[in-house]
């Protein structure tokens, strides 16, 4: 046998290091993804000798949209909340990161507080807190300033403010990781660029929009993806609950649940590509 060249040997060793992942990806991710696609076109019966499938064409999918009103409604609510929450989370974490990036005392202390929710916010804990009504700003409706705002606005904006107030703590608690990602990004911006821009007479307002924000664009994209993914797999999400419930319903079963999972995945994928597309488009138009 011819001895292997150094290069081939090194790539084989590289493959050896990542082999657990390759096996796992094939067995536990790629195959399941296709298998659940297969199941979504089947009526699945679980029997003692394993599962039996029967091809039902697009029945599961049409059932999801035509009959299962609960599912369509839950998906729509999820999308609505996602569209409202993600921009708020991004803007909020950026503001907090800017505040924390200032030369202030107790920086570490504040960072510790703002990251704390990431550690404790599991589904059941959030559920308990929501049932106690502590995730909304306490008794804000009573304040005069709130009434003033409400009377001055109407329609969509009004709804937006109510949603924001009712879920403010929920939204804030979702921003821990994003704040730190922005903060890390802010600390890496080259100070010489600021100096140069200032010499050219840029105001600080312009500095933010033309230096800080563009250099944070990659972080905005990362944060957007992270927020959407975390939001969509959070345990209290009604859609994923609906999928799990349907797994064990006799009438619907694994086949229907697979179809729901696929629809959900496609919805998330579309949301992700639209938001990343919009963010990169903006950048290219300005600096391309």
């Amino acid at each position: 046998m011819k001895p292997l060249s150094m290069k081939t040997k090194k790539s084989l060793i590289g493959y050896a290091f990542i082999s657990p992942w390759i096996v796992g990806f094939a067995v536990l991710t790629a195959f399941p993804v296709f298998y659940s696609l297969f199941l979504s076109f089947q009526k699945v019966k679980v029997t003692t000798d394993g599962i039996q499938t029967e091809y039902v064409n697009f029945d599961n999918f049409s059932y999801a949209f035509a009959v299962d009103a609960l599912f369509t409604q839950k998906i729509l609510t999820f999308l609505e909340e996602l569209v409202l929450s993600v921009p708020i989370i991004i803007v909020f974490s950026l503001i907090i990161a800017l505040l924390l990036n200032m030369p202030i005392k107790f920086k570490g202390f504040f960072r510790t507080i703002f990251f704390l929710p990431v550690i404790i916010a599991s589904g059941p804990v959030m559920k308990e807190l929501m049932e106690q009504g502590v995730t909304s700003i306490p008794s804000i409706e009573q304040y005069a300033i709130f009434e003033m705002i409400m009377s001055g606005t109407e329609g969509f904006l009004n709804e937006l403010i109510i949603y924001l107030m009712d879920n403010l703590i929920f939204i804030l608690w979702f921003s821990g990781v994003q704040i730190l990602i922005f903060l890390a990004g802010l600390q890496k911006v080259d100070h010489q660029i600021y100096e140069a821009a200032k010499i050219d007479g840029a105001s600080t307002w312009e500095l933010f929009w033309k230096v800080t924000l563009p250099s944070l664009t990659p972080m905005v994209i990362v944060n957007t993806i992270y927020t959407i993914v975390m939001y969509s797999i959070f345990a209290l999400n009604p859609v994923i609950d609906h999928i799990q419930v349907n797994m064990f319903e006799i009438k619907t079963g694994l086949g229907y649940a697979s179809a729901l999972a696929w629809i959900y995945f496609l919805v998330i994928a579309i949301v992700l590509s639209i938001s990343v597309g919009l963010l990169t488009l903006r950048v290219n138009k300005k600096y391309g």
């Binding site: 992942w21 399941p32 505040l99 703002f114 804990v125 307002w205 500095l207």
Partner: protein, 313 residues
């Protein structure tokens, strides 16, 4: 009006992006007030939880008692302790979270090292697939995995968490692989090459030289996996069924367990109804171990993001 707004934002920006020329006392105190205000809103649910968990029923019903209970009432905790069977559940939770977290960290370090140090065909494509596993929702893979684990007899058993962790497909494994990938790329190769010239094999170089240099990455990955596994209830409920339980899962059925224990003719039924105080005490007990871990190790959590190399490179 518009001018003032612009002026304020200018000052705000100038300080936030590091212009130290204009940070007047007034502005600084404004920043502190803002931070303390937001910090209070962040902590509000926790403060509420802490206060209510120490309130007796009288205090809860008394509208004059607001934040500070008239007396420290620990009965809530002793009841919650019984409902959760705290110590036993805690040990079980540690078992089903720490073990997968250790396995996931160890495997992620191997995979990350493989990607960082070796060149092989399709490396870029495979890295893209690693990222893709982060975006694919677990719902898409859980049904086939459920069927698969059922046949292997893994359901109701820690293997259903260990096997994915062992094969780099655990909870957020992609993030940990990336952390190790970035970490190993940042540390210089020269030491490892020297050891290779001295005749050490690749596995030996990895164990003796690379691992000791990557201790921070190991700590960060372990802590994050630990916390994420701890807080995972959706898949845990599905895979573990009634066989294994965790504190968050017990909290999920807190009210039902309480009623079985106290209200509906259980052995020591006192006819007590559940109240907010007891529920908050239960919630407190569920997060208490995490709070302890966080306050002992918070530096690693906060630095973890910096080190993950997410900010470019």
């Amino acid at each position: 009006m518009k001018e003032t707004a612009k002026k304020i934002s200018n000052t705000f920006m100038s300080i936030s992006i590091g212009n130290r020329g204009q940070n007047g006392l007034l502005f600084k105190s404004f920043v502190y007030i803002l931070l303390i205000g937001i910090g209070f809103v962040y902590l509000y649910p926790l403060l509420y939880m802490g206060s209510y968990s120490l309130k007796s029923l009288d205090d809860i019903l008394n509208p004059l008692v607001n934040w500070i209970p008239t007396q420290l009432y620990f009965d809530n905790f002793s009841k919650a302790n019984q409902v959760l069977s705290f110590l036993q559940t805690l040990i079980e939770t540690l078992y089903v979270t720490a073990l997968p977290a250790i396995v996931q960290t160890a495997v992620a370090s191997l995979i990350g090292y493989g990607f960082a140090r070796f060149e092989f065909p399709f490396k870029k494509t495979l890295l893209v697939f690693v990222l893709a596993t982060f975006i694919i929702p677990p719902q898409l893979t859980m049904i086939p995995r459920y069927v698969f684990f059922n046949e292997l007899g893994f359901l109701g058993n820690i293997q259903s968490f260990l096997l994915p962790a062992l094969l780099g497909q655990g909870l957020n494994s992609a993030i940990f692989i990336l952390i190790f990938y970035q970490f190993f790329r940042m540390i210089p190769k020269s030491l490892e090459e020297a050891a290779q010239l001295d005749g050490a094999g690749f596995l030996r170089v990895f164990i003796v030289i690379a691992i000791p240099m990557a201790v921070p990455a190991f700590i960060i990955s372990f802590l994050f996996s630990f916390v994420w596994y701890w807080n995972e209830t959706y898949l845990a409920a599905l895979y573990f069924g009634n066989e294994l339980t965790t504190l968050p899962l017990e909290l999920n059925k807190f009210v039902a367990t309480y009623q079985k224990l106290y209200s509906a003719g259980g052995e020591d039924a006192t006819g007590d109804n559940i109240n907010e105080g007891i529920r908050m005490a239960g919630t407190m007990l569920t997060i208490l171990p995490l709070l302890v871990v966080y306050f002992l190790t918070q530096k690693w959590f906060v630095e973890g993001i910096d080190r993950s190399g997410i900010t470019g490179e």
